[in-house]
C-alpha cells in the first residue's frame, strides 16, 4: 500500500497540470454540492421548524346544519342567540363523540389529538359573552402541541389532572377583566377561582377561560337542552410531520360526517414549495455530481491513454495487472479526496457567506444543520466518486499489452 501511495504521490506531483485539472473538477463539484446541501438543509430545517410550529396543526369539526335535518340528536343551547358550540369566529358546530379521538389517533399521518369543548357563554351578571374551553389535562402532548400547557402559564399554575372547580384564563381576557391568580370567574352562576394566566399567542383554537373537562361538561350541560354525554365539538390535531398535514387532514375528514378540517395557517403550499425546492436542488446536485465524476473519469481516462507507454514498461519490468489497476485507482482516490476535502471546506465557507449575505442567522443555522456529518458524508461520497471515476481507466491501463505497445515504438 505504501508503494502505491509513494508512486501515486510521485505521479500526481509530476503531472501537475493534469492533477490540477482533476482536483479542480472535484473541488468545484464538491464545493457546489456542499454549499447547496447545507443551504438546502438550512432552508428545509427552517421551513420545517416554521411549519411544525404553525402549520402542522389543525382542528376538525362538523358544522351545524342550521336549517337542515340530521342534527336532531345534538344538544342545543337554551339560549341559542347568545350561546352555543362554535369555532372561530362564527361557525356553529355539532357535537361529536369524544372517543372519536381514539380513531383519529390511529391515522398514521396523525401525531397527537385531543378533544376540545368550546362553548360561548353569556355572563348572567353583565351580559358579556366569553368562551370556555374544556380540556383533558391528561392529553399532555396534544395540549402542548395544539392549545395550552404548563409552558404557556405566565402566572400561577397549570391544571393537575384531578383539579376541580378551578380555571385558567387567557391573558387578553384577564387583562380585559382585570383578573389575576386568585380572582374568581362567574360561569353559569358558579364561581371558579383562577389558578393560572396563560399567554395569548397563536393557537390551533383559543378560549377565554379553560376548565378541566368534567367541570366544563357540568357547566355547559346546565345551559343545554340535554346534558353532555362525553361529547366534544372540536378535535385539536397535530400531524406527524409537516409533509403529512394534507394527508392527515384528508383522512380525518373522512372519519367525520360532513366534517371539516382547518389549519391555523396555510401550511400546504409551504409544504409543496418545500418539496419543489428540495426536488430542484436534488436534481441540480445530481447533475453536478455526475458531471464531476465524468470530468474526473475523463481526466483519468486521458491519463491512462497518455501513460500507455509507461504502463507497458512497468508491466515489462514485472508490475502485475493488479498493481497497475490499484495505482490508477489510488491516484484517482487521492485527487478526489484532496479535491473533496478542499471543496467541502470552500463549500462550507460559501454557505456561510451566502447565509450571512442573505441575512440568515448563522447561529440558528448551526443549530439546525449538522455540518460535521454533512461534510463527512460529502467527502466520503466524493472519495467514492473518485474511485468510481478511476475504475474504468484503471481497468484499461491494467489491460495494456506491453508487447504490442513496445513493438509499436
Amino acid at each position: 500500500m505504501s508503494d502505491l501511495l509513494t508512486c501515486a504521490l510521485r505521479e500526481l506531483k509530476k503531472r501537475k497540470l493534469r492533477t490540477l485539472a482533476g482536483l479542480s473538477g472535484f473541488f468545484l463539484g464538491c464545493m457546489l454540492i456542499t454549499a447547496m446541501v447545507l443551504m438546502l438543509q438550512y432552508d428545509l430545517q427552517a421551513k420545517n421548524a416554521l411549519v411544525n410550529y404553525m402549520g402542522n396543526k389543525f382542528l376538525a369539526y362538523a358544522p351545524m346544519n342550521l336549517i337542515g335535518a340530521g342534527d336532531d340528536q345534538t344538544a342545543r343551547p337554551l339560549d341559542p342567540v347568545n350561546e352555543g358550540f362554535f369555532t372561530e369566529p362564527t361557525v356553529v358546530t355539532r357535537l361529536l363523540p369524544a372517543n372519536l379521538a381514539a380513531s383519529i389517533a390511529k391515522i398514521p399521518e396523525v401525531g397527537v389529538v385531543t378533544p376540545f369543548l368550546l362553548y360561548r357563554f353569556k355572563n348572567s351578571q353583565d351580559g358579556h359573552v366569553f368562551s370556555i374551553g374544556g380540556i383533558r389535562p391528561a392529553d399532555v402532548r396534544a395540549l402542548q402541541a395544539t392549545l395550552i400547557s404548563r409552558h404557556d402559564i405566565i402566572s400561577g399554575v397549570f391544571f393537575q389532572q384531578n383539579d376541580r372547580n378551578v380555571v385558567i384564563v387567557d391573558k387578553s381576557y384577564a387583562d380585559m377583566w382585570n383578573l389575576k391568580v386568585g380572582s374568581v370567574v362567574n360561569i353559569g352562576d358558579t364561581l371558579f377561582p383562577v389558578i393560572g394566566i396563560a399567554g395569548s399567542h397563536a393557537r390551533t383554537a383559543r378560549a377565554d377561560v379553560y376548565m378541566n373537562w368534567p367541570d366544563a361538561e357540568a357547566a355547559i350541560s346546565r345551559r343545554l337542552n340535554r346534558p353532555l354525554n362525553n361529547e366534544a365539538n372540536l378535535f385539536l390535531i397535530e400531524a406527524a410531520g409537516a409533509e403529512t398535514v394534507a394527508a392527515a387532514m384528508r383522512k380525518v375528514q373522512t372519519l367525520i360526517e360532513q366534517g371539516i378540517t382547518n389549519s391555523v395557517v396555510c401550511s400546504i403550499p409551504v409544504v409543496k414549495f418545500m418539496g419543489m425546492s428540495q426536488n430542484a436542488v436534488s436534481a441540480v446536485m445530481l447533475i453536478v455530481a455526475v458531471l464531476a465524476v465524468l470530468f474526473a473519469a475523463n481526466a483519468q481516462w486521458s491519463a491512462a491513454s497518455e501513460r500507455t507507454h509507461e504502463v507497458a514498461i512497468l508491466k515489462a519490468i514485472g508490475w502485475r495487472d493488479r498493481s497497475i489497476f490499484a495505482q490508477f485507482v489510488i491516484e484517482s482516490l487521492l485527487i478526489s479526496l484532496v479535491g473533496g476535502i478542499s471543496g467541502a471546506g470552500a463549500g462550507y465557507a460559501m454557505f456561510r457567506t451566502i447565509a450571512q449575505t442573505l441575512g440568515a442567522r448563522i447561529d440558528a443555522a448551526y443549530q439546525v444543520v449538522d455540518v460535521p456529518t454533512t461534510l463527512a458524508l460529502l467527502i466520503f461520497a466524493t472519495a467514492l466518486a473518485g474511485i468510481i471515476a478511476g475504475l474504468v481507466p484503471a481497468a484499461r491501463a491494467a489491460a495494456t499489452r506491453p508487447a504490442e505497445v513496445l513493438r509499436d515504438l
Binding site: 509530476k14 509507461e310 515489462a316 519490468i317 514485472g318 508490475w319 495487472d321 513493438r407
Partner: protein, 223 residues
C-alpha cells in the same frame, strides 16, 4: 536441466483473419553463463522471440521452460512475477519512463514486492553508482546522454540480479565506444555464471562476444 529450454515454439499473428506465421519449430537451450546471439534481418521475429521468452506474449505452439517452470503455462500475473524476479529485459530504445529520474526508473523494478523504500533506494543507488551514474541519480532520461540512458536501462535490469537477461539490440542505438562500455558492464556477470543472456541483433553486436550464435531466417531458427 538447462536454465532455459525452448521446445518447438511457433508464433503467428492474425491480421484481418489472415494468419501471419512469424516462425515455427524453434527449439534451443541456454545454460547459465552463456551468451546466445540470435541474429537475423529486421522483421524475422527476433524481438517477438524475446517477448515470448520474457512472457510478454503467448506462444502459438510449443513450450518454454525456465528454471524448471513451464512459463508457457503461467498466468499473466505469474509471468509478471517472473520478470520481476528471474528475467531482466533490455530494450533497444531503452524504454525508460520519461518523467521519472534515473533512480526512480531503477527503483520501479523493486516496487510492489514488499521491499522497503529505503532498501529500494539503497539498491538502486548502488547499481547506478556501480555503472558510473552516481552523480546522475536524479536526472530525467532526457537530461542524460544516449549511453547514460542505456546504462540506466541496464541498471534497471541488473538491480534484480536476474538469472537470464533478454537484450534486444542492446548496442543498436549507441556509438561503438558506448557499446563497448555497455558490454563490459554485462559480460563479467555472464562470464561469472551468475546470469545468462540472449541477445537479438541484426548485425550490430559483435558475434565474437557470444558463446553461441543462431540466426532466425525464413521462419526457422538455425543454430
Amino acid at each position: 536441466m538447462s536454465l532455459l529450454q525452448v521446445e518447438n515454439v511457433a508464433k503467428s499473428f492474425f491480421q484481418r483473419g489472415n494468419e501471419l506465421k512469424i516462425f515455427s519449430d524453434v527449439s534451443f537451450t541456454v545454460e547459465p553463463g552463456e551468451l546466445l546471439l540470435i541474429s537475423g534481418r529486421s522483421g524475422t521475429g527476433k524481438s517477438t522471440l524475446l517477448n515470448l521468452l520474457g512472457g510478454l506474449e503467448r506462444v502459438s505452439a510449443g513450450r518454454i521452460v525456465f528454471n524448471d517452470r513451464v512459463i508457457t503455462d503461467l498466468s499473466m500475473s505469474e509471468l509478471a512475477e517472473l520478470r520481476a524476479n528471474g528475467i531482466g529485459m533490455i530494450f533497444q530504445n531503452f524504454n525508460l519512463i520519461p518523467g521519472w529520474s534515473a533512480l526512480e526508473n531503477v527503483e520501479a523494478v523493486l516496487m510492489h514486492r514488499g521491499i522497503s523504500q529505503s532498501e529500494r533506494l539503497q539498491r538502486a543507488t548502488a547499481i547506478l553508482t556501480e555503472l558510473g551514474l552516481g552523480d546522475r541519480l536524479h536526472n530525467l532520461p532526457a537530461e542524460l546522454s544516449v549511453g547514460q540512458q542505456q546504462r540506466v536501462a541496464i541498471a534497471r535490469t541488473l538491480v534484480n540480479d536476474p538469472a537470464m537477461i533478454l537484450a534486444d539490440e542492446p548496442t543498436g542505438d549507441v556509438d561503438p565506444e558506448t557499446a563497448d562500455e555497455i558490454l563490459h558492464l554485462l559480460l563479467p556477470r555472464i562470464k561469472s555464471g551468475r546470469t545468462a543472456m540472449i541477445v537479438a541483433s541484426h548485425g550490430l553486436f559483435n558475434p565474437a562476444l557470444a558463446t553461441r550464435t543462431a540466426s532466425l531466417k525464413d521462419g526457422k531458427l538455425h543454430l
